[in-house]
């Protein structure tokens, strides 16, 4: 089975070589004369007003976590779809029950309004 992944390994090796190579070469070749003014951060010519990182609203988190849950659900679907013709009606129904339980969750969050955004 692992032989199937050999091209991917080669691909990763080339990717690392090209990406790393560019960084190394630019480091070696490009002139590098930093001074305090050059390295200081600025916004449109002014000194930076505030930190780039701002606290997020908790609602982003809710969206992210709901995304993960349904992401996991799709992960459960992949092997099922691959062997659907072999596991018969029983396998089909077992996944339908799985789906039904999650649909209840979907109805819940929809009705609650958790999917809405201001």
């Amino acid at each position: 089975m692992l032989t199937n992944y050999f091209p991917i390994l080669v691909f990763i090796a080339i990717g690392i070589a090209v990406g790393g190579g560019l960084i190394i070469f630019s480091r070696l070749i490009a002139p590098n004369k930093p001074n305090a003014e050059k390295l200081s951060p600025y916004e449109c010519g002014f000194p930076a007003f505030e930190d780039a990182r701002l606290p997020f609203d908790v609602r982003y988190y809710l969206v992210a976590i709901l995304f993960i849950l349904f992401d996991l659900e799709t992960a459960f679907f992949v092997p099922w779809a691959v062997v659907l013709h072999k596991i018969g009606l029983y396998g089909f129904l077992s996944m339908m029950v799985f789906l039904l339980i999650l649909v209840v969750g979907f109805i819940y969050e929809w009705k609650k309004g958790a999917l809405e955004w201001e």
Binding site: P55, F56, L62, D71, P79, V82, L102, Y108, E109, G113
Partner: protein, 200 residues
């Protein structure tokens, strides 16, 4: 065989290094990114173990989604750089090292070919699909834990909404249905007034 060993050594070294950096890094975002590297390195290890489905899930659920969540949480709490008290770290270092060495010695002694040797799995041929094998048992033999896992995901939905949702937002948005259903009578009121004579 030689390449396989090389890949194993490189990725496990990367895994250990990144795990270490994740703990040491001062900047929390850097820690999170090192964690991503840990996931990628362990995905490579899982591919080597021929658990390709799990490796892919690791990439697309953990690297793709869970890490996003981690970064959200870091942003949410506005943890810029944790002021790690140097004293704490140094103070617990000796006991930590002793514990780690103890665990390591125990594992090296216990997890040896001598104890696991009889169960070494054989290498599968190129047309072997781990996903198919998993699918064949997951939806039939393991249907009981599967449905329990569905209930678990449902609980996670309810818990996430229950813990973070603040109630429906009062939006100032157009309600197109209502706008279209409006009739002339709703908007216009015709008042009968006696006409006022023109002033001469």
């Amino acid at each position: 065989m030689y390449i396989e060993q090389l890949v194993f050594i490189v990725s496990s070294a990367a895994l250990i290094g990144c795990a270490l950096m994740m703990v040491i890094a001062k900047n929390t975002v850097h820690s999170a990114l090192f964690l991503v590297m840990c996931f990628v390195a362990s995905a490579v290890l899982w591919i080597l173990l021929e658990a390709e489905f799990l490796a892919l899930i690791l990439i697309f659920v953990y690297v793709g989604a869970v890490m996003t969540l981690f970064l959200f949480v870091i942003m949410l709490l506005n943890l810029d750089i944790i002021s790690r008290e140097k004293g704490m770290f140094v103070r617990f270092l000796p006991i930590g090292i002793v514990l780690i060495l103890g665990m390591l010695a125990m594992m090296v002694y216990v997890i040896s070919p001598e104890h696991f040797g009889h169960l070494v799995p054989v290498h599968e041929s190129a047309d072997y699909s781990n996903i198919k094998e998993l699918g064949m048992v997951l939806y039939t033999q393991y249907v009981y834990p599967l449905e329990a896992a569905a209930a678990l995901l449902l609980v996670a939905i309810i818990a996430a909404v229950g813990l973070t949702f603040r109630g429906k937002a009062h939006r100032k948005a157009q309600n197109i249905n209502e706008q279209l259903l409006v009739k002339k009578e709703d908007r216009l009121t015709i008042l009968k007034m006696p006409s006022e004579g023109k002033e001469e």
